[in-house]
Symmetry: C2
Subunit: 604 residues, 2 copies
Amino acid sequence: MAQVLVDRRDVDFVLHEQLKIEKISEHEKFAEFTRKTVDLILSEARNLAIKEMLPTLKLSDEQGCTFEKGQVKVPDSFHKLYHLFREGEWIAMCDTPEFGGQGMPTTVAMAAMNYFNAANFPFTLNAILTHGAGKLVEKFGTDAQKKVFLKKMYTGQWGGTMLLTEPEAGSDVGALTTTAVKNDDGTYSISGNKIFISSGDSDLVENTIHPVLARIEGAPAGTSGISLFLVPKIRVNDDGSLGAANDVVCTGIEEKMGLHGSATCSLTLGGKGQCRGTLLGEVNKGMRAMFVMMNDARLNVGAQAMGCASASFMNALNYARERVQGRNLQATGKDAPGVPIIQHPDVRRMLLTMKAYTEGIRSILYYTGYCEDMIRISADAGEKARYQGLIDVLIPIAKGYASDRAFDVCNMGVQLYGGYGYTKEYPQEQLLRDCKITHIYEGTNGIQAMDLLGRKLGLNGGQAFKDLLDEMTRCVSGTQATGGLEGAASSLAHAIGILSEVAQHLEAASRSAKMMDAFAAAYPFMDVTGDTILAWMLLWRASVAARKLEDGAKKSDVPFYEGQIKSARFFINAMLPVTVGKMSAILTDEGTVMDISDEAFGGK
Amino acid sequence: MAQVLVDRRDVDFVLHEQLKIEKISEHEKFAEFTRKTVDLILSEARNLAIKEMLPTLKLSDEQGCTFEKGQVKVPDSFHKLYHLFREGEWIAMCDTPEFGGQGMPTTVAMAAMNYFNAANFPFTLNAILTHGAGKLVEKFGTDAQKKVFLKKMYTGQWGGTMLLTEPEAGSDVGALTTTAVKNDDGTYSISGNKIFISSGDSDLVENTIHPVLARIEGAPAGTSGISLFLVPKIRVNDDGSLGAANDVVCTGIEEKMGLHGSATCSLTLGGKGQCRGTLLGEVNKGMRAMFVMMNDARLNVGAQAMGCASASFMNALNYARERVQGRNLQATGKDAPGVPIIQHPDVRRMLLTMKAYTEGIRSILYYTGYCEDMIRISADAGEKARYQGLIDVLIPIAKGYASDRAFDVCNMGVQLYGGYGYTKEYPQEQLLRDCKITHIYEGTNGIQAMDLLGRKLGLNGGQAFKDLLDEMTRCVSGTQATGGLEGAASSLAHAIGILSEVAQHLEAASRSAKMMDAFAAAYPFMDVTGDTILAWMLLWRASVAARKLEDGAKKSDVPFYEGQIKSARFFINAMLPVTVGKMSAILTDEGTVMDISDEAFGGK
């Protein structure tokens, strides 16, 4: 039967054959997550996604969120869905059971989220931000804060957000002007305007808890003077019951290209001087706290993009197998029968590109989750640090690079349907529109590229990036003797070598007088790093598949394993040379981006 | 003053300095189109575009077209606009004055259209298709058909369309099933269903004239049995007055991702057996007639994409000069002032990419128009044939490659605005949505790629493609001694050499047993051909600019000319190596796209 949304066989392959997550469940922390349990969890997620969430996708895009008389309303269909989502306990999958979380391995949660995000990620966003806000409370809150807020957040009774952006402080968070003044009772009076707040207000929950970045009177300028506060929409009494409104007012929601099922709110805090919050964590350490949560938030954005790509690819594949149009190019005579378009070379090129990207992204994201799990179960500080380094380097790839490639997949997903792809009769155009936001929020992809070059490349004296290259090289070495993959392995080895050279070149340049030139190459550097990692993931998959075939796989699995080998060879033969071309451009370019005056861009 | 929509200085540069269209006005046919007249025409176009069309862009996107009680209505604001557009005689700019056209050089019309398409191309589409339909009448119609229809079409009193696509005949036009049965009076009774018909019905015009592809009873299967008919919505008497309704019924309009200002109609012809049409041209020569018009139609689609790119780039450039966010990366200390984002390296990379693409596409499209003009004024059959060959090779690039790169520009145009780019407060997201249709209609870009490889590469025994390479090489040779451009010229020469090799390789493969593999590389081949042509255009521009600077340009022109040199160097140094990588992949790939079974794509 044709799969929809997500290729379950591929999900299982990554979890159990590529990453072998059974190793994780051997640890007592995850002992209950046996193969059988994981299968059940994913089947539940799939059912909910296909039967309940997917039918709301188009509806919620059309209806959108509304803002009337000061109240935000989400699409009607989301109320039942949110109830089911809470009931299934999907909001805080990986969080601590003590506070209402499910204690699931991140790898498994990534797989479940794959279904939810593929079915309707704007809905999922309504629910999942709460987990991030809750995590901040869990990590930095006092016992009293935890007691009052946490369980209600992790179970979805209350919602959570993140209040960072202001009209004049977007990518430059340090420019924010929201203020906090300490009151006699230890609370703070907060005052300011925040914009672009997903679920900043919602009729799905009885209260919304806002972690807010603000500057305490007299604090230093820039990011080092920012503190984090917990500001509920409705004040909460010590016993957890609701009090009076807290002067947090939604002033409007954005009209957007997509993501219509998620309200993007403007909020005014303390317009009447009555907005009270409590400090979360330490004074002036707000940015540090946010940074701790940022990896998680950015990985989630990558997962949203993966959801769009995954659905668009499955749709396109099913369509290409059914849609009859044109004859075989090699057929002669007018009587040749029509063929399904999957048989046309250019359609195959698109499908294979979509497959390579979607599956490669899946592996990158699940692997990042896997590293999280390894930290959670490892007793060895060195090993923990090594995995943390891998995660830190992978995050800009999992968010920035992955969302760029997911958009490419969605773009081809429209294209493959021809004229139908442009219509709202099919989901493809919505997936493209929705996917676009993943390039922008939680730090634009340009910011991700700067993060990779400016922070991650030199992390731990460059050890983290080197560890990643070593992981890749280990895979290549293990594959070089695998029949049919020798060529691909040696091409990847070649690319890894040049990537290492590019990294050293840029790292040195970024600390020299050529710093601006280096940062002008940050984005291409993210591209080539991502391509190489993706090629690694595909080769890793192919080497697993080749061994399974050698060992005599069951007949029904043979095409799947062969598909793994084919997509690795396709990507490495037909696409990695393009990456190598881009790497050579980085190495030889003499700063053409910065070498132009502002005036010379024209337009005057 | 900041330019909007289109950089006028750049338009003038291409027309008068790169292409030197004064040569064209030296010919008696175009004698009235002096520099002064051309300037006036473009200023008129700019005024209409900025003052009247641009204000309708967002409105018409929001309101869209409606279909109620069998009647299509365009957005309200289009009625006044259409009146002005007709009054300005913009519908048939290049067509024969005898029939109501303006007889303008195509190059100049491309420049005027640049403004209209940048301001609101869904509106422009409402008006401009009529010219294409009219051209068919002019070229293939009888004197009686011309007399009755032509002037009313070229002046916009009546609209025109193209009825090709059917539900089961999209890219495969030859599969169409609409039938035509000859009546005793020489007319034909037409019967069938057509879809995706832009302006298939409209309340802007009093009648709509449909050129319709249909198969006469007993005609051969496939494309060689297709004839072209002229079918008015309302029957037309011999004296040109309107008669009874002609049984052409609009049954619905598409809900689409963008292009909301243009109604995409489904039409049923002869549902009551009362649809009459007259043969246009010869029996069974319908496809040949359509092919004659196809170059023009595809060039227009490229021009629409260029319009989107042009507007998105100008908006982004103006925004980047005004939006203050973040500090100079090299600044030390917290007190460094905020800077306009144009100073940030990654923003510059985006702007320079947008500039190179937008200006390169402009040159490609205007040059294609220029070749048209050279055919119109040339007395030499060999020269005419040579220009026709250049046009034929350039068309898939001007439509397919140009629209892909225009979409990239629009995508960066959203990105550069950050969160604001995703909102409907700014035009960037609409430009991206609107631009997407240009990949699809008038033959998907996949079809363009097949056209380039399958038809154009071998055209005239390969002479047409060779002529194009020779043009490029001539430019390179003329630039190799130009100070500051030696390196760029030699890099381009290198790329041209490999492109020639790739072309020979694919041309041979496409006629061998490896035909399917060759066509799997058709799209990458279109990419690399387009990149090389774009690089040529930028180098050509740069060499003109360098000479102007050497000769002592006036001060206000210096930044513009320097910008030309910078963008050529940027594209050739930082981006052409990627192209070379893609060319090497085509040369060395061993057919990985075709070498996968249908099953192995997964999803089952």
